[in-house]
Amino acid sequence: MLTYLITVTTNLFIPAVLIGLAFAFAGAFLGKWGRRILGIGLGVGVLAAAIRAIVTNTTRVTAGWKIPYYGYWLVMVTVAATVLMIAVFAVRPLRKKVGDKGMDVVHYVVAGLLAAAIAALLFCVLPSIMAAPFQFNLNGNSVLSTDFLYRLGGYLLGLIICVVAGFGVECSARICADKGMRPLVWVLLLGALALVFVQYFANAMSQAIVRRLIGFAKMDPEARSNMFIAVSAIRNGASGFLYAFAAWGLIPSAALLMRGFTLKEPYETSAERRRQKATWRRGRRWSVVLAACFAVAILTCNVFVTLNTVKIEEAPLEQTEIVKDAMGNDYLLRVPLDMVVDGHLHRFGYTTPDGTVTRFIVVLKQEGTSNYGVGLDACEVCGEAGYYEQKGQIICKKCQVVMNKTTIGMKGGCNPIIIDYDIDDYYITVPVAEMAKEETVKRFKK
């Protein structure tokens, strides 16, 4: 569940916040047609992403077309053009020179560029999200299986968080604009576009450097290496962009809350007063919703990623009972059955006279039976690397092959090397001679 929540949130959160800010900007500065043009851009982006997701996951037609790479450039170009247009026409003398009709044209152009930037951004990020459902049924289980439902749940939760965040930012920013804070919306959008530009610049450059495109093949290797390290640092800090967007997206809410305490709006009728109060109330509620969405998004980047990271937990070496012979020498290694009846992998060590620690494993093959797998904690292929347990499976530490528990005890391949042992109602018994023989010691000697 967490995998898909993380995938969707980390990919879609930034575009959702940016789209929210863009729509609020369009409402404040570009008029009704501005929002409609942005809506068209949004639709085109979603449709193009859907086509790309379907085509690349069901055919090989687009293999080698470098679509993601060109997508990054498209985002950079459209974002840069939008920022330029917005920044240039913020200059009052220029606006006066262009005149009202000219500014109408400028508004359409800005709306078009912003729509193109949104479409390009969605074209880059949405396909991997849309393709994620193709991975839900990895093990061929039914669509009503727990695994499938958890994955779907995480996926939909991520979608909901991002869409709600986008709406929340749009609503808060629009209310800010209505309450006399239009310049704030302008600054927020420019800042968000600048962050996206930096992020996609790093994405495009890292791919261009690795694939030796746009002249990087001829660049001085040391300079190229330094540039690669710099863009890698930006890409490795991707969660920093998410935190920045979360903080950025909360600014309209914070501004609204502060403004609400100080602004004294005139009103003529009680209906008008009620409408004003309703607007502030709506702003405060969206602030709470936004804060919750952003908190989940931030948690996704650190806590959930940590929780979802698979850690290799090596079973500790356990002690066996050593039975001595009449001469006082080590004779048998005895493992009580109630120690290993839990179905988990158990590792046992024996220290030979020369100090080498030889190891064997015991695992109950099938619950409710007395069918145990016993062998060395080593195999013919990978040597003494040994095994660990993860999600109920026994895995080789060196080659990561997943063991079939039922084949433990069979010779060859990745199976643990067979050793002599005995089993009765209470103990599994391994002769010390088996663990101390030359062949075994040689395997484990460092």
């Binding site: 995998t3 979603v46 859907a50 997701a53 379907i54 690349t56 996951n57 069901t58 055919t59 090989r60 293999a63 080698g64 077309w65 470098k66 679509i67 993601p68 790479y69 396909p127 991997s128 849309m130 393709a131 459902p133 193709f134 049924n137 990895l138 939909l156 979608l159 909901i160 869409v163 709600v164 709406f167 609503c171 994405n203 890292s206 791919q207 450097i209 690795v210 694939r211 290496s225 690669f228 390290i229 890698s232 890409r235 490795n236 109330r281 709506r282 509620r285 969206w286 990271t309 698979v310 292929v381 990978c382 690397a385 499976q393 530490k397 060196k398 080659c399 990561q400 092959v401 997943v402």
Partner: protein, 203 residues
């Protein structure tokens, strides 16, 4: 507030339905194999239907020609899946002119290939283990899904051991090849692997 919430819920529902339809469409449909089944391994990257990013190529050691590439992590038989990994690292090992009976350019089987990957600036390896022999649409190779420490420059060391001639037996009479003893273990380190997640550019 209610109107906005309803709007939001409506859009989420529509998006979820669209995605659900795409998923069902994909799950029900069969992936068409557009390649002809002619037993010849695809030679060009594009024929394989995915893009391999080269780490190094044309390194010659003893009678082996070594090329290392990486691309997206893959699902494989034997319980391997692509989740939890950053990339699929592979070493293509082909024979140069040799006296062991391998055809020039042929994949060399039965080798034991270990890998160790260390990020520049670190002292310990972030990924190490043994490659498995495996087959992809472009032919057999040695490879493994691995997890790294983000984008950056890595050093990768390959240790190639030849099979024991008691298990990989060589004819020693007139029917045998010219050479009967394999060379010593080959160790090769490439210390300028510029890894960027997603550089393979194909899904």
């Amino acid at each position: 507030m209610k109107k906005n919430l309803l709007k939001v819920l409506g859009i989420v529902l529509v998006v979820a339905l669209c995605i659900g339809c795409i998923a069902v469409f994909a799950a029900c449909g069969e992936k068409e194999n557009t390649k002809t089944n002619d037993n010849k391994a695809a030679e060009a990257e594009d024929d394989a239907g995915f893009t391999e990013v080269s780490i190094f190529e044309g390194v010659q050691r003893e009678f082996l020609n070594l090329n290392a590439v990486y691309f997206q992590p893959v699902d494989m038989t034997g319980g391997y899946n692509h989740e939890d990994y950053d990339c699929h690292l592979e070493l293509d090992v082909s024979a140069l002119e040799n006296g062991y009976g391998y055809g020039t350019g042929d994949w060399v089987p039965y080798l034991s290939v270990d890998y160790s990957v260390t990020k520049k600036g670190d002292t310990t390896a972030c990924a190490e283990g043994s490659f498995m022999a495996m087959a992809a649409s472009d032919g057999p190779h040695y490879g493994q899904n691995i997890k790294l420490k983000g984008d950056g420059i890595y050093s990768v060391t390959f240790t190639i051991k030849f099979p024991d001639t008691s298990t990989y037996v060589i004819h020693t009479d007139e029917t045998g090849p010219e050479k009967h003893t394999f060379p010593n273990t080959i160790v090769y380190t490439y210390d300028n692997w510029e890894f960027t997640n997603g550089a393979w550019n194909a899904e």
